[in-house]
């Protein structure tokens, strides 16, 4: 069980800042997922921890001891790559035993350990196969077994599921998660896929342009996004830019939206609304958390209904509600009120800092007056 700490880790390429002062403290046995679009610096961060990319400044510590000076082969990290990176000329068993052999483990104990890993990864019947004779999911399980065989201090997963068929992703993801948790391995995983990240992480780090946007649990990121980027990247949000006045009205594209909360700020702001937390009511509501609009598109998608509601000349809101709840599919052209409460809205000021709703405001509760 190892604690992994990144301390203001930075990577410059010339004048370009690939990773900008990333600090992170990962508890023993914790799985942290670095999440962000391509080019956000998440992979560079991982590679600095692995030792393949030298850091420009900052530090990487294992249990408080810097490992930056160590070459990759002395860092004792288990790596799993998107491309599996198996040794194509070695059997599954030899792949898994490679790290043990490099550590000078004798033949017999090595065989025992390989057998144990084969059993854990459910690969026993495939021990003597070559990698090219395996499916993608099997190859990635071999790669995982190979990484775990050496009892690494830290497990690093670089987009481990991206090359797999959609149907296999969840399965291999679960395998990884279970093996990681049973081994109590401190883990960093890198991915651009938020579903994957949400499903596997203990804690997530959202990155963009080399900077950490927010660190927190799934609930933190979804319920309390720290920036408009996080609000739109984690789950879906409709982002509206407008002008906030009186702390409770935001004018977007010429239309006034009555906010559910009351904010101690005014001026240019960004409003993020979660489609699945909005609902439709009869037109004419002016209560907090409401805006008037016209249904433009309506789709019945099985578990949910989706309405695209036009609220300004060039502004639309997506409203998604469960088909299990009361309500109906509205006709396009129908006038409606879009309603929400404080849990659906997030307001950011011009500096992209989230504004907090003042507690004195009464929050409107969802009413049963569905139209």
């Amino acid at each position: 069980m190892t604690r992994l700490t990144l301390d203001r880790l930075e990577k410059h390429y010339g004048t370009a800042l690939a990773v900008d002062a990333v600090s992170l403290d990962i508890a023993p046995g914790e799985m942290v997922v670095l999440l962000g679009p391509s080019g956000c610096g998440k992979t560079t961060t991982l590679r600095m921890v692995a030792g393949f990319v030298p850091a420009t400044s900052g530090d990487v510590l294992l249990d408080g001891q810097s490992i930056l000076a160590l070459p990759p082969y002395r860092r004792e990290m288990g790596l799993v790559f998107q491309s599996y990176a198996l040794f194509p000329h070695m059997t599954v068993a030899d792949n898994i035993g490679f790290g043990l052999e490099m550590r000078g483990m004798k033949r017999e104990p090595r065989r025992q350990r390989v057998l144990e890993m084969l059993r854990l990864a459910r690969l026993e019947p495939l021990a003597e196969r070559l990698p090219r004779q395996l499916s993608g999911g099997q190859q990635q399980r071999v790669a995982l077994a190979r990484a775990l065989a050496i009892n690494p201090r830290v497990l690093l997963l670089d987009e481990p599921l991206s090359n797999l068929d959609a149907s296999l992703r969840a399965e291999v993801g679960r395998d990884i998660r279970l093996l990681q948790r049973d081994a109590g391995l401190t883990t960093i995983m890198v991915t651009h896929d938020q579903d994957e990240a949400m499903a596997m992480a203990d804690r997530l780090v959202v990155m963009r342009d080399g900077q950490v946007q927010q660190t927190g649990t799934q609930e933190d990121l979804y319920e309390r996004p720290a920036t408009p980027f996080v609000a739109s990247f984690i789950g879906r949000s409709t982002m509206l830019e407008g002008k906030l006045s009186d702390g409770n009205t935001i004018v977007v594209d010429g239309t006034a939206l009555h906010l559910a909360g009351h904010y101690a700020a005014n001026g240019a702001s960004t409003l993020a609304l979660r489609p699945e937390r909005l609902w439709l009511e009869a037109p004419g509501v002016t209560a907090p958390g409401a805006v008037a609009g016209t249904v433009e598109l309506a789709s019945y998608l099985g578990p949910v209904r989706e309405h695209l509601v036009r609220i300004g000349p060039d502004t639309r809101l997506l409203v998604r509600d469960s088909t299990a709840a009361a309500g109906r599919l509205h006709a396009s052209g129908e006038a409606v009120s879009v309603r929400w409460d404080t849990g659906a809205e997030r307001v950011f000021d011009a500096a992209l800092t989230p504004l907090l709703a003042e507690t004195t405001t009464t929050t409107s509760t969802r009413m049963s007056t569905h139209v």
């Binding site: 692995a50 082969y73 002395r74 790559f81 998107q82 040794f87 194509p88 000329h89 050496i150 690093l156």
Partner: protein
Amino acid sequence: MAAAGHETLWQEQLQRGLVGVLLVCAVAIIFVPLVLTLYLSVFDETLIVFPPHGYTLRWYAQILPQFGSALRTSALTALAAVAVSLLLGVPAGIGLSRYRFRGREAVSTLLLAPLTIPGVAIGLGIFVLAVLIEERTEWALSGSLGLMIAAHVLITLPWVVRLCLASLANHDRAAEEAAASLGARPLAVIWRVTLPAMRSGIVAGALFAFIVSFENLEMTLFLIAPGMTTLPIAVLQYLQYHIDPLVAAIAVAQVVIVGTALILLDRQVRIARVVA
């Protein structure tokens, strides 16, 4: 409708027929000289007369007494050139494919350039240089086996480098990083991961290098000395005074040796995959 269908069918048959004729021509152009050589090599005649009075295998028995020494020189030179080319070319291939350094282009050009220079020019250049050095240092360079091998390395090295580069083009560097993270030191990574991945390129490169060296005539013309002649040159010299089936016999022997090597190696590494 039916007439049009007929017409296309007829055209298709014509096309197929033409392709067939072309194929037969091509195969004939390639194989007729070979077959003729094989046929000539068993003539029981000292001058090539057609039709022969009889057939014999005695020409094959004469290969070694007549060309044994040249064959030995050729084989020795080719093997040594291949060995040196591998020692230089494999690391060069790894370095060129992996690192972006100053002068990389220059190194790459230098390693591959001999392919584009006529053998006569290389041979003459080396000969003149050797004589110049000899005049100044009394070092018996021209006509030595060492110089011959060095010169052959010049023309075999490009093949090794080029095929090593080709075999690394599809190599996943992540496998090397995986090996490093598992505790393999840089040399162990190269030995256990990189070189096995290059295996087919190395084998094919060595084979091409051997053939290029073994068959080289133009450059080698300038490097031979009395008692040290390669096979192609010995054959050429022999041809100046005799035209008999022995030359055909040695040609057949050469084709068999190289052909067997190619077939055996292709089983091992599927050369077509590396060269294509």
